[in-house]
Symmetry: C2
Subunit: 338 residues, 2 copies
DNA sequence: CTGAAAGCGCTAACAT
DNA sequence: ATGTTAGCGCTTTCAG
């Protein structure tokens, strides 16, 4: 393995100069830099991130912690983050919790991240106090996506507002009996509570009664949505509209409606949140949120915090809230004129 | 940051012993090991992978190269791999090509992987000769998932056989005019060719005419499948059955059929490959392949190759071919009795 | 602008 | 069973 030393020897200069030249640091004559780069390439020199990290304390690696890689939303955020990190010269270490609380504990506990990464990106998890303590102990920039963590860098949408938009859309169409499909999901993820709050708040301000039996758990999965839809729609006093806190659940509701022979939106309206890649396919009305973009932004925040001078130069955690848009498609309409 | 040295000093022993004790190496008295572990924990010692890697030449990190993280199939394989790697004490460095040939080139070229990972997992890419040369130069175990690369470790299904199963199912149902939706997709991925070969081979052995106009490109995406479906079904001499080389495309075809007012399977039968998470939802007949399992297996192969003694102890690249199963659901049936 | 030298934190012979 | 001693390959003062 040819190293920096070989390049230095070949050029009869010090490894310090080679190192500086290769990293584009100032204080190297243009000519020297040229020569170094040329011989480095010619000798097939490849830097050793491990050694560089050991010497500098920077690993040029960022950990990304995701609840489930297989879910479209998270995979998309990862994709956005990867894009930006890679471009910034950082590697991405993936920690997939796969819905397991044990895995979650393992990642945050016991310094699995210490001395390993320069920063951490946490997706959609509402951190516990203990986790926050450990993350603080890391002493590294951390950015949360999809969670509101006061004092920390976050990138998210206003989940409550998004839920208001969705519910409000139904209210405006004239619906008065509106159900909610949400639920906690498997890990302690942020979105559910805020979305439920938005739903309830909107009902209240519209002066609509709040019927707890119209709030059911869909587990944030498609099958869960089907189940929830069946339960809601297969009753005499069924709602005229359903707001599902995620598109996957909303699609499940659509399916349940079809099974029960109900026409959408004639018999029942359905609205979701996300603008999932399949939402258009199902002609689902939804409140769209930028997904890949949240990953990109979070990665950028982290890179900013890592940039030289950020520590001294007055860098502060940033809270970015991205806008959402109501995409009125074919799954919502006025209530049946009973 | 407390290091191995601090632990050694505290215990008044050498760092070598501490290192050995902590890594569970033989040659340490049980009592010493206990003491070391206790003080290490108590001092909040956390190992530095970078330093260990520098000294040992092993990074305990595996690179996983995926064409698209956002696609269900790849995300699932990654999930399986992550699971096994994490358990084996390895970190997973994610390289997402996001369909970009440039990104692909960047990863394999210029030693982005050298000195950085102990092994590489490559998903569904058919490596070029140049890439194989570079991977060989890495001098590290490499395992391919979903590709047939003679001489290298591979985990895959028999794509040709899977396509035969799918097409054969249609033939047995009595179809004689069977279309194929496939296509190259964005990167040079392996599956397409083999599946097309399986389709053609089955037609031939069944003595059915091969009509090139019945082979259309679906780009391995859902929208591509819709397009393809429209083109195939919106013609007077439309096929009575369609085999799509992936479930996502098959679902697109289903959609196209519905748009055109065709009933499935009464007017047209559709079969896919994968058993995508939504296949059941759409009642799609498909040839199921184990997905997460391919990731797990590939990771295990890589860990085996990395295990101490593998190099000397007669370790050979392994070719694992996993079985596929026809899942006959509601999207296939006998042809219309014209 | 360039060089010398001291590590970064750990592992791996080689001793004892 | 434990200690000693070199590094691993790079970055980073500190000199010049």
């Amino acid at each position: 393995m040819t190293g920096i030393k070989d390049v230095a020897r070949e050029l009869e200069m010090s490894t310090a100069t080679v190192s500086r030249a290769l990293r584009g640091l100032p204080g190297v004559s243009d000519e020297t830099r040229q020569r170094v780069q040329r011989t480095a390439k010619q000798l097939g020199y490849v830097p050793s991130p491990g050694a560089a990290g050991l010497a500098s304390g920077r690993t040029r690696t960022v950990a990304v912690v995701v609840p489930f890689v297989t879910r479209w939303f998270f995979a998309s955020v990862v994709q956005g983050a990867e894009e930006v990190l890679r471009e910034g010269g950082y590697d991405l270490l993936l920690y997939n919790l796969a819905g397991s609380g044990a895995a979650r504990h393992r990642v945050f506990e016991g310094g699995r991240l210490t001395k390993r990464v320069d920063a951490v990106l946490v997706l959609s998890l509402q951190p516990t106090d203990d986790e926050l303590t450990r993350l603080t102990a890391l002493g590294r920039p951390v950015t949360f996506v999809g969670a509101d963590v006061p004092g920390w860098s976050t990138v998210r949408i206003d989940d409550e507002a998004a839920a208001c938009t969705a519910t409000g859309h139904l209210v405006e169409l004239g619906h008065r009996r509106i159900a909610y499909v949400g639920g906690p999901g498997e890990l302690d993820v942020t979105a559910p509570n805020a979305r439920e709050a938005g739903y309830r708040g909107t009902l209240r301000s519209a002066g609509l009664a709040h019927d707890p039996s119209l709030e059911v758990d869909g587990g944030f999965t498609l099958p869960g949505g089907i189940d929830a839809g069946r339960r809601l729609l297969d009753r005499p006093d069924r709602p005229t509209a359903i707001f599902a806190a995620s598109d996957e659940m909303a699609i499940g509701v659509l399916r349940a409606a079809r099974e029960l022979g109900l026409r959408v939106p004639h018999d029942v309206s359905v609205v979701g949140i996300d603008d999932h890649e399949l939402a258009g396919f199902f002609d689902l009305t939804t409140v769209a949120q930028p997904v890949v973009e949240q990953g990109r932004l979070a990665a950028r925040l982290v890179l900013d915090a890592l940039a030289p001078g950020a520590a001294k130069g007055g860098w502060h955690p940033a809270q970015v809230i991205l806008p959402t848009t109501l995409l009125a498609r074919g799954s919502t309409g006025p209530p049946p004129t009973a």
